[in-house]
Symmetry: C2
Subunit: 316 residues, 2 copies
Amino acid sequence: MSEALVIGSVALDDVETPHGRATEALGGSACYGSVAASYFVPTSLVAVVGRDFPPEYRKQIENRGIDTTGLQEMDGRTFRWSGYYERNMAAAHTNTTELNVFEHFRPDLTPEQRRKPFVFLANIHPELQVHALRQLDNPQLVALDTMNLWIEVTKKELREAIRSVTLLLMNEDEARQFCETPNLIEAGHALLGMGPRSVVIKKGEHGALVFQKDHYLSIPAFPVRSVKDPTGAGDTFAGSMVGYAARLGTATDENIRRAVVIGSIMASFVVEDFSLKRTLGLQAAEIEGRIGQLQAMMTVPPLDPATFVPHFAPAV
Amino acid sequence: MSEALVIGSVALDDVETPHGRATEALGGSACYGSVAASYFVPTSLVAVVGRDFPPEYRKQIENRGIDTTGLQEMDGRTFRWSGYYERNMAAAHTNTTELNVFEHFRPDLTPEQRRKPFVFLANIHPELQVHALRQLDNPQLVALDTMNLWIEVTKKELREAIRSVTLLLMNEDEARQFCETPNLIEAGHALLGMGPRSVVIKKGEHGALVFQKDHYLSIPAFPVRSVKDPTGAGDTFAGSMVGYAARLGTATDENIRRAVVIGSIMASFVVEDFSLKRTLGLQAAEIEGRIGQLQAMMTVPPLDPATFVPHFAPAV
């Protein structure tokens, strides 16, 4: 068992979905990511909050055993995001984004943090991701997630960050946008060509695609009948992948393919309730149960090759 | 090995996609469906064409070994569809639909056709589907496909047809529309509750979901980097499922889950070129090759349950 380091944002979110709303709820890419990773290995969080950050939220994070030494408190207000989802829950619509303390945040790592072998650079400005990346001391795995905003406004910096990571995660729309192609297979191969050893395209309810030099994998989403709030699903997916790879101890291509199953499962929990309500208190049996179920959903009864032979071959 | 009967439309299509165009090309739901089924079992086609139907098209269908006794020629012009696809190829846009000889078509089956045990009611007016359905003599499997038009204008008739079939296929958007829910898992279960023993929701590039009483399966799409023309993908998917189930000889739930792999593979071929160019001349090795590859894409390295146990359980 190794250890995980998660760098990104901690936020206070106002979210409205067809199933209700949450106000000043705990959120942020690194918060979702570190909580997910914490189920599998000792996890450290590097992020920043303001003076308004509720002590009970810090407590909730620490109750997951997460090392919050790197969760700085700075003068000012915590990063805030306000958004809503329409009936189909397909995409988040942003009302407002207040950077607040994030305007002055630089992820400066301690010597101990620099030596963590499994690192998740959760969604923040790509310059900060590169800044963190450069301080790492021979990591086994660096995973990077991003969002459409950075593809639109800082594509060059994002490209630089992508070049240096081992695992890249993108949403399907982001991958299409970044690679300027409607075809996800083309996009996945293009992203793989930019440097990462594995590329994961997250497709929400449609699961995820994994691209590696010698492997292509399609992972279903665990079927959730009542999605209450999709916020943090991608962060949870990525964070649990990094945590599970750390648990396995080595970031081989094979272990990344194992980890994507865990990513899909952990993401299926977080969407069942608002904020981190569902993933802060998961039971081992719940996780294990869904892993078994997901594997069954991917399992087709054996096919007899004799039945593929065309019964009728035309005279050429 | 049993036999398949495919009832639906044969058409002349004008199609434009970002990769080119086809004019007066062979098309129609039953044409795509029967050609796909013909790889696996002796297949009979019931449809209607006009006096303008090119003899070489009939020849191409017959060259696949398909029994065209039921392909009537009536006075008038063949059913024609003209449409286009935008860059993302996600949905067909219709320019014009000319029913022509289809306005007077009634699928009246011969005694021999009535006894075919595996039947595909390809996309046509649901009243015609019900008319065909009622003539069948104790079929093992009746599969039904439809389209958004019938959901909009003949929902009641469609519901009646659905009640009486064993396998229902719908696109994801059609399933959402018909069941009035954005959630595909909810839609799948709702459709299953209406009567069919298996429901397949086709999701194009995202593969397909299979709903059965005791099983849920997610099948990837075979990854195609260059989709030239998506026309007929759904018909091909369904037709090959029925053909393959017939090849296996019994329509058990397990065989339907096997057949959906074949559906996904056969659909991946037809989109690689316009009209039926690709599926009229497939080689056995091509089909078998993709089946093996698709199975590999669904295969995750084994996960050790000991690694699911949370490393950290909070004090409650």
